[in-house]
């Protein structure tokens, strides 16, 4: 698709004018997995392998390995028309993964997946990023998914980029703070010692054993907080960053209406 303005480069190459060269080692899974229904997973991956010019001797092994990754081995020879929505989504991811690309563009990859499938693919993407050292572009409306998977985030609203950067930096820049959830019992014991920790700006008691701490971004104060809780004699049950930080960031950025 030609850009209406601006430009995109993949490893320095223009994907419109240098389509073929730019898309080498790039895997793409579209938002709507429009796959020809007469094909079987094996046939689709064989077609994709031919498009990628994967050597014939390696095609069978590649198909087998890819179907294993996405959990479709049992459905190798079942027509797409007979697969469930979740399975078709898995197949769409499979055709993006075949050939071991080091750049993946995944448009809403978790749509249609059951919770177990979504968890499986989160692991798959983490493993790919770690083992291949490549880049995965993940487009998603599920903020918790982005927060749990991504290292950098770019948020676009009505075609305008609201912010772009590492998740931690972005949250810090937009919200000015980050939030920690501390679960301890009795929580009152540790309130005073937590308050004295440098970086802790505000404490809000959510219930009898849960605190929400507003802390300055940049420094990870979790070890200090854990230590303070334990020294106070309270039992520490959990200590995590708030899971809806990215969502808060997004809403805040929308409210402020400026770029970050």
């Amino acid at each position: 698709m030609r850009p209406t303005s601006g430009s995109v480069r993949i490893r320095g190459l223009d994907p419109v004018s240098e389509h073929r060269s730019a898309l080498v080692n790039v895997g793409y899974s579209p938002e709507l997995p429009n796959i020809q229904t007469f094909l079987t997973p094996k046939e689709l991956l064989a077609l994709t392998a031919e498009e990628l010019i994967i050597p014939k001797s390696e095609v069978s092994r590649e198909i087998k390995a890819t179907l294993e990754i996405v959990g479709l081995t049992e459905y190798t020879n079942v027509r797409v028309s007979k697969l469930s929505k979740g399975m078709v989504q898995r197949l769409s991811i499979a055709q993006a993964l075949i050939g071991s690309p080091d750049l993946l563009v995944m448009d809403e990859p978790m749509i249609g997946l059951d919770p177990a499938g979504a968890a499986h693919f989160r692991d798959v993407f983490r493993r790919i990023a770690k083992e291949r050292g490549g880049t995965i572009f993940l487009s998603s409306h599920i903020m918790s998914e982005v927060e749990s998977l991504c290292t950098s985030v770019c948020m676009i609203h009505r075609g305008r980029m609201l912010f772009n950067g590492s998740i931690e930096e972005t949250i810090g820049n937009v919200l000015g703070s980050t939030f920690l959830i501390v679960e301890a019992d009795p929580v009152e014991n540790c309130l005073n010692s937590i308050r004295t920790i440098p970086g802790v700006e505000e404490i809000r008691k959510e219930n009898d054993r849960t605190l929400e701490l507003k802390v300055k971004p940049g420094k990870d104060v979790r070890p200090d907080i854990a230590e303070a809780v334990i020294r106070s004699g309270a039992k520490l049950f959990s200590l995590n960053y708030s899971e809806d930080l990215l969502e808060r960031t997004y809403l805040e950025a929308l409210k402020k209406g400026t770029n970050f």
Binding site: M1, R2, H19, R20, S21, A22, L23, V24, V26, Y28, P30, L32, P33, N34, I35, Q36, F38, L47, T48, E50, E51, L52, I53, S92, Q95
Partner: protein
């Protein structure tokens, strides 16, 4: 451009057409057209008595030429009009082109894949016609012209195949593409018949000249011109009546017919290719 990738899309297009059962239905109709008339003719003793026994060895021409004017062209349109447009409607073009392949490889693979199917239908019709004629009327003669007739019919089918392919690419809606392509073909054929009638009534060669240039003329004339002279004069009357069905009486030459088909083909092919190269591959449109 890599022939291997073109061949990948070629095979994909063949498989896609077969899976959509279009080609199976068309092959079934080819079977009917290629066999039923002979079986019917052999059993209708009154009709049979009208055909001189000396023409029996040449009755294969009916099976080979009868579908040329309408059925083969319409089949070409059915195959070609959906080749590109159905991919847009189903959103599958986006996925296929998201790989490191060029648009030209995709375009050529799909074009020739679809064209191979119409060539197959022509061949099937030819084989069925000859076999049915042999079974019902005995040994057939002058069959040595068949390879040339096949090439002539296949080349003639290229015209409306390419036009329908172009319309499919330009409109990107399969049903509309079928309608427009078929309308163009039938308009051209009917217009040709009108021009023939006007020329016959008025004797004004102007109408005859116009008729020579309309797209249905060269496709009707090329295969018939090729066999002219190769068959006994008794068979000529049969061919003339077939010629009449295919858009009126056409007088031309083989080079002129080839030239006209080539011009129409080249124009439609270039327009389709340039449009495809310059326009976005949209997501699912319906």
């Amino acid at each position: 451009m890599r022939p291997r990738v073109i061949f990948t899309f070629f095979r994909y297009e063949v498989k896609r057409s077969i899976a959509r059962r279009k080609i199976i239905v068309l092959a079934f109709f080819t079977l009917l057209i290629g066999t039923v008339p002979y079986i019917g003719l052999a059993n209708l003793h009154h009709a049979l008595s009208l055909i001189p026994t000396s023409d029996y060895p040449y009755l294969w021409v009916a099976g080979v030429f009868l579908p040329q004017g309408l059925f083969i062209q319409f089949t070409a349109i059915l195959i070609a009009a959906g080749a590109m447009s159905e991919e847009y409607e189903q959103g599958t073009a986006e996925l296929l082109l998201s790989k490191p392949v060029t648009k030209a490889e995709y375009f050529l693979g799909k074009f020739f894949g679809g064209y191979s199917l119409i060539a197959f239908i022509i061949l099937l019709n030819m084989v069925l016609g000859v076999v049915s004629a042999t079974i019902t009327f005995g040994q057939q003669a002058s069959l040595s012209v068949l390879p040339g007739v096949f090439l002539a019919q296949a080349y003639a089918a290229l015209l409306f195949f390419t036009v329908a392919f172009m319309i499919g690419e330009l409109i990107r809606r399969s049903s509309l593409s079928y309608i427009f392509s078929a309308a163009l073909f039938f308009t051209s054929t009917i217009f040709g018949l009108y021009l023939t009638v006007i020329y016959t009534l008025t004797g004004d060669v102007f109408y005859k000249h116009i008729q020579l240039y309309i797209p249905s003329s060269p496709i009707a004339s090329l295969p018939l011109l090729y066999v002219n002279g190769s068959l006994p004069s008794g068979v000529a009357s049969l061919l003339s009546s077939i010629e009449g069905l295919a858009g009126g009486s056409v007088e031309s030459s083989i080079p002129f017919s080839i030239l006209l088909i080539s011009i129409y083909f080249a124009a439609a092919f270039i327009v389709a290719f340039v449009f495809f190269e310059l326009s976005d591959v949209s997501r699912k449109v319906s």
